[in-house]
Amino acid sequence: MKKIATGNKAVAEAVKQVQPTVVAAYPITPQTEIVEQIAEFVSTGELKSRYIPVESEHSAMAACIGASITGIRTFTATSSHGLLYMHEMTNWAAGARLPIVMANVNRSIGPGWNIWAEHTDAMQERDTGWLQVYVSTVQEAYDATLMAFRIAEHNDVLLPVMVNLDGFSLSHIMQPLDTVETGDFIPPMYLPHAIDPKNPKGYGGLTGPDQHFKFRWDIERSMRDSVKVIEATEKDFAKRFGRKYGFTDDYQCEDADVVVVSMGTLGKEAEVAIDTLRKEGIKAGSMRLRWLRPFPKLNLKGKDVVVIDRDYSFGFGGILAKSIQAQQKIDVYSVIAGLGGQEVTYEDIADFIRTRRIGEEFWFGVNDHV
């Protein structure tokens, strides 16, 4: 069904389609519209979930954990400080192998208080064992949320999935949305280690070094196995509903001499920059990274690479830039831009590409080349 919606409403629409048994959530700007819409759907009976209005994000994730381990589907949504407040429990959710799905509306971290888009919140969760996908349009927010449940619950994965959408520049932007009837696209959830009083087991108790080590490896093995599950899910989604997704969204990369890599809404802006540069005769392309975890195998060899990071690891560098450098064994032009909701236009991105200095780092709007 075609309609107009914000990124937040699109996520709530997807949740309504999937019908998780329990939703536990706490409000935070700019995610609030998701939980408000879910509460509305619950009140009208369109969504037959138990909605637990918890007193904190730490409790939101703890409640999802307690619910999920009984073998039922759960969902939550958060942003920024909320995500960091639940950090202990996000680790627990992954370690407990629970297919919880969470929408995170990317927002900067204080102080000072700043409610606008930045990826540092989710980036700080990158080592927890969660799968992470970053979206760029309202439609993609909807589609990725649907697929997240199937991927998380697949018995080769059984890890939680975080769907990331940029605060305000996507969460509050109205775009066309085509909702679908998922039918059997998402099979009923089966959790092999669900709690059953008839078969009593201990969960998460004391674990010695050898066993703990194996559990860690088990998470990594499933993370690796998730690659095939993601590919198969996106392929089936394209077949059923006609919209194609992949680990990256490539725009005119094939013959490009220079490729700009980014995540989220900046990736859409970058496509306009490519059109501008192509008119000038510059063979440029854009690669929008969709999945941060598992981190895909990229192929950027032989090209100049410009990486836009909407995040930073102090004392180290742009997290995306450093990840690409390490994986590709190449130098890149690392641009730090868009922090705290800083406006970055396609003209700016075109400039980053034109004036690139491979091997250097540039803080947009702060200073010259560092």
């Binding site: 409640a63 307690g66 009593p200 087991k201 201990g202 998460g204």
Partner: protein, 295 residues
């Protein structure tokens, strides 16, 4: 009054737990589980019980145990209870948490779960310090008690968690003591008949933490009640009933020194602190008697 013959023979705590000798946490839990029966799940935050259950892949508990982070037990149980009820299951969801996980780090999640009317039983077994990590002070440590972080004795009073719980108006709340297993058994059975949140606060004397010899755990619990330091009561929809064991003790309590003297943690307690403890104790007895009398 529950007779000892009313208590099922079925054991949910098997042999070979890793509890310390004389542990009254595991003694209490034994009766909690007998009362709750097999269709129950324990939610356990970091506490002595996380250790007592044994090391993976073994468990000494013949009941599902979900271990969760220190401050998250009530929230986790809240999700679990909602999930069970949403799928038509009546399984008891029981939080079994220490005083640190209840009075300190877990208080926010617990307050939230009580406020939301979660259908669960929250049990705090109180050994009045962080026992699992080697007896550091907690909000449950009484004034004057030495712990590893209050080497000269705690200067602050024990937090009145029962008053905080009462402020949430749960349908049922009670105190209990590991030294009175029949009373505890009855209270757990009763608590589980209520829909919504219920709370039981169990005093669990701890030989290594309180520094008394291991065979005296039950005796210590009885001295706590007889001296009026621990009062056994229950509140049903806000109506207080003081249990008979405490009723008689409150009329003529034994001297507080009889309870404190066998415990190394109170050794060398200052006269001033002892006096404050006595005053607090007398005030508490008066307050509860007045409440029961409807004054």
């Amino acid at each position: 009054m529950t007779s000892i013959t009313d208590i099922p023979k079925e054991e949910f705590i098997l042999k070979c737990t890793s509890a310390c000798a004389g542990c009254s946490d595991s003694l209490a839990l034994r009766y909690v589980l007998k009362a709750a029966g097999p269709d129950s799940v324990l939610v356990v935050p970091a506490c002595c019980t996380s250790v007592i259950q044994g090391i993976y892949p073994n468990t000494a508990f013949n009941i599902p145990v979900y271990n969760i982070a220190f401050g998250a037990a009530a929230a986790c149980a809240s999700g679990m209870s909602n999930a069970f009820r949403a799928t038509g299951k009546k399984t008891n969801v029981i939080v079994y948490a220490g005083d640190g996980g209840t009075l300190d780090i877990g208080i926010q999640a617990m307050s939230g779960a009580f406020e939301r009317g979660t259908d669960f039983l929250y049990i705090c077994y109180d050994n009045e310090a962080y026992g699992n990590t080697g007896m550091q002070r907690s909000g449950g440590t009484p004034m004057g008690a030495k712990t590893t972080t209050t080497p000269t004795g705690k200067t602050d009073a024990k937090k009145d968690i029962d008053a905080i719980i009462a402020a949430h108006s749960p349908p049922y709340m009670a105190t209990a003591c590991a030294a009175y297993p029949q009373d505890l058994f009855r209270k757990v059975q009763k608590a589980l008949t209520f829909r919504g949140p219920s709370f039981i606060h169990i005093l669990a004397p701890c030989p290594p933490g309180w520094r008394f010899s291991t065979e005296k755990s039950v005796e210590m619990g009885k001295l706590a009640v007889k001296s009026g330091m621990w009062i056994l009561y229950e509140r049903e929809y806000g109506n207080l009933t003081i249990n008979p064991q405490s009723k008689s003790a409150m009329k003529k309590p034994i001297p507080l020194e009889e309870y404190l003297a066998p415990q190394g943690r109170f050794k060398g307690i200052e006269a001033k602190t002892l006096e404050m403890l006595k005053q607090h104790l007398a005030k508490n007895i008066k307050k509860l008697l007045a409440e029961e009398a409807g004054e």
